[in-house]
Symmetry: C2
Subunit: 388 residues, 2 copies
């Protein structure tokens, strides 16, 4: 599905990790659900295990023979070696053969997400394993080609948002319901329209089209069916995977009809918090994700809302990295310094399970002298018929 149009992954990062942990090779075995493995190999492999092996001398993809042409076409590393069978036993055995054919390998670094089964195979083959949770961090620093991929997916997400907003703007209000094309507009119908628009542009919704209406906005990952009613919030959070394999992420909230006082006030507060977060990012690259989160929390509390472990207010993190995964480091909950080439969301929100909720989310590239917003989409509670 995904063309390998980003630059070669920064394998030097893994070599550094080997040095730090006094290991001689890195072995990563997983299937096509493993987004870090996809990043490492750029191989659109099967839904059964295949392997990536890095030694000081070369990088190898151990792919099933049925996928050999594709593996050769996609893998940017040194060598593709194929296994007759398309299963995990082949993947593990083939990676062990690569290790055996390389001199002086005794300690092998594996991600701590490695399956127990693979770990046992390596140990049985005589290797000492050391585990790491650090490899995922190599994805934080995006190359210009990767940034371009994210930018393109974010544009597709914005087009889908524009279509959804236009539907809301064109819907008519009949008593307590929104009517669109002669039928009540539900979160399910709107989700389907959005997913069609994403598919039309070559993106996959990846199960990440979240739409809440009224109370269900407070259920952060609502994926059910709800009538969309006037004077209540409609929260639309899109996290599609683009044709390049890179994700985008954007959230807007609308109030068809006339926003009541609470909805108006919450909207204004969340918008201020987003603005404050964006301004704070202009101080990058000398700040951390948790600095941004703290700033957002300050604004929300200053406006009279609670944050943290609460039932009403802001009860989630406000930012994360986006790349070959929808959620990846850096996370704003940690003290990772934001550096040029990081791509992160800013997503303040305020919720009340009895009334609804507002979240606004932009996607931002950290640059050497501040930040560039990859989203060019207005925040307005009143849905408009837009063209972008």
């Amino acid at each position: 599905m995904l063309p390998a149009d980003q630059s070669t992954p920064n394998y030097e990062y893994i070599v550094d990790q080997l040095d730090k942990r006094n290991a001689d090779a890195y072995v990563h075995i997983g299937d096509n659900q493993d987004q870090l493995l996809w990043y490492l190999t750029q191989f659109n492999g099967p839904d059964r295990d295949y392997a990536f092996v890095l030694t000081n001398t070369e990088t190898t993809l151990c792919a099933p023979a049925l996928f050999s042409e594709q593996a050769e076409r996609e893998f940017p590393g040194d060598t593709v070696t194929t296994t007759k069978n398309n299963n995990r036993a082949s993947a593990a055995q083939r990676s062990i053969t690569v290790l055996k054919n390389t001199n002086e390998i005794s300690r092998v670094l594996i991600p701590d997400s490695t399956s127990y089964w693979v770990y046992s195979e390596l140990e049985k083959a005589g290797y000492t394993t050391v585990t790491t949770s650090n490899i995922e961090k190599m994805k934080m620093q995006k190359s210009p080609a990767e940034i371009e991929n994210i930018r393109k997916t974010e544009l597709i997400a914005q087009k889908a948002m524009q279509y959804a907003e236009t539907i809301l703007a064109n819907a008519t209000i009949l008593e307590d319901k929104l009517i669109w094309k002669c039928k009540p507009l539900t979160t399910k119908r709107l989700r389907r329209e959005i997913n069609v628009k994403l598919a039309r542009n070559g993106a996959n919704d990846a199960g990440n089209t979240v739409i809440g209406a009224g109370e269900s906005c407070a259920d952060l990952h609502f994926n059910g069916e709800d009538n969309i009613r006037p004077d209540e919030t409609v929260l639309i959070d899109l996290g599609p995977r683009g044709p390049s394999g890179y994700f985008g992420d954007i959230t807007r909230t609308f109030v068809p009809g006339s926003p009541p006082e609470w909805e108006q006030d919450v909207y204004a507060t969340v918008q201020k918090a987003l603005q404050a977060g964006l301004e704070q990012l202009n101080d990058a690259p000398s700040i951390t994700g948790s600095d941004v989160h703290t700033k957002i929390v300050e604004v929300i509390e200053a406006n009279g809302y609670k944050t943290g472990d609460v039932d009403v207010g802001l009860y989630h993190g406000t930012g994360h990295g986006v790349g070959t995964s929808l959620h990846e480091p850096p996370f704003f909950s940690r003290d990772t310094v934001l550096e040029p080439g990081h791509v992160v969301t800013i997503e303040p929100g305020i919720y009340d399970p009895d009334r609804g909720g507002v979240r606004l989310e932009d996607l931002v590239l950290i640059t050497k002298d501040g930040a560039e917003n990859l989203v060019d989409y207005p925040c307005s509670s009143m849905p408009c018929e837009r063209s972008i």
Copy 2:
């Protein structure tokens, strides 16, 4: 995204596995990419770890608090317990707390796909772990509600196939290209049309829309762009995930223009092989998947084509189970007896990397006195404008 509209998973199967392995509890930790965990919990959780725990007294879902409403709504088991944080440390700790609160737990069964990290946490907490690769097999036996889910997804897949075939039928031939809506028809354009149709019907292409044209038909998972040319095979293999979370699977091959001799002969042979496989299934439930594979191989070899580890001929397996995963047990490569309630593909194919390839695939429910084809879609090399 997915309503929990199948019946409760057969937890008794796991209890039996505990007995067999002399274990006191089963712990399964994974994220929303783990289709077995989804089956066990029916919970559309986050892309970070959560846990399922089964003891002799109850089944528990340990979900992050941010997802608590959704977890309560979706989990068909006994108890939902929530963790403050949305991360794997919380999931592991919470599952250990459930174990600690249950009397007489010392040996814990874990799937061997369990991450090394989770395994270590359980061992550190004082439990002995035993691993299994058997749990996936509990999915083989489908309930009536599950069969209905698969049937619905397969119908969506057939609608998308019908649309794709109609596009091919309506395309005009201009020199060596197919032209549709004034532009050359490529595998990429056709894939996009299919994915839009799937989205319109609430299904996700799940990255499984494979289209080959000419030579690329022999590349079994071709996902790139190729011109679709007259007198060459166009192979369309769809494996979407329906709104219920269950997959479908269908393949058809067409030859726009006039099939040359090789293409005609291969098409006829593959169609005979499919027919023979379907007839063999009528002897179910007293046969194995490998019986069916052997029968298909016989037909293909009797017609002068090679099979097995070859460059030209049939070089892949010819059947697998379909359910909450696109590929799950039973696999025709093994001697698993086909039983009523199994849903399996039959997919013979013949390929020549210099000329193209033909694959035809139906999806079949094993019944107590034979088999029911869940596909009602003709096999015809000439694309027609169809309505289904």
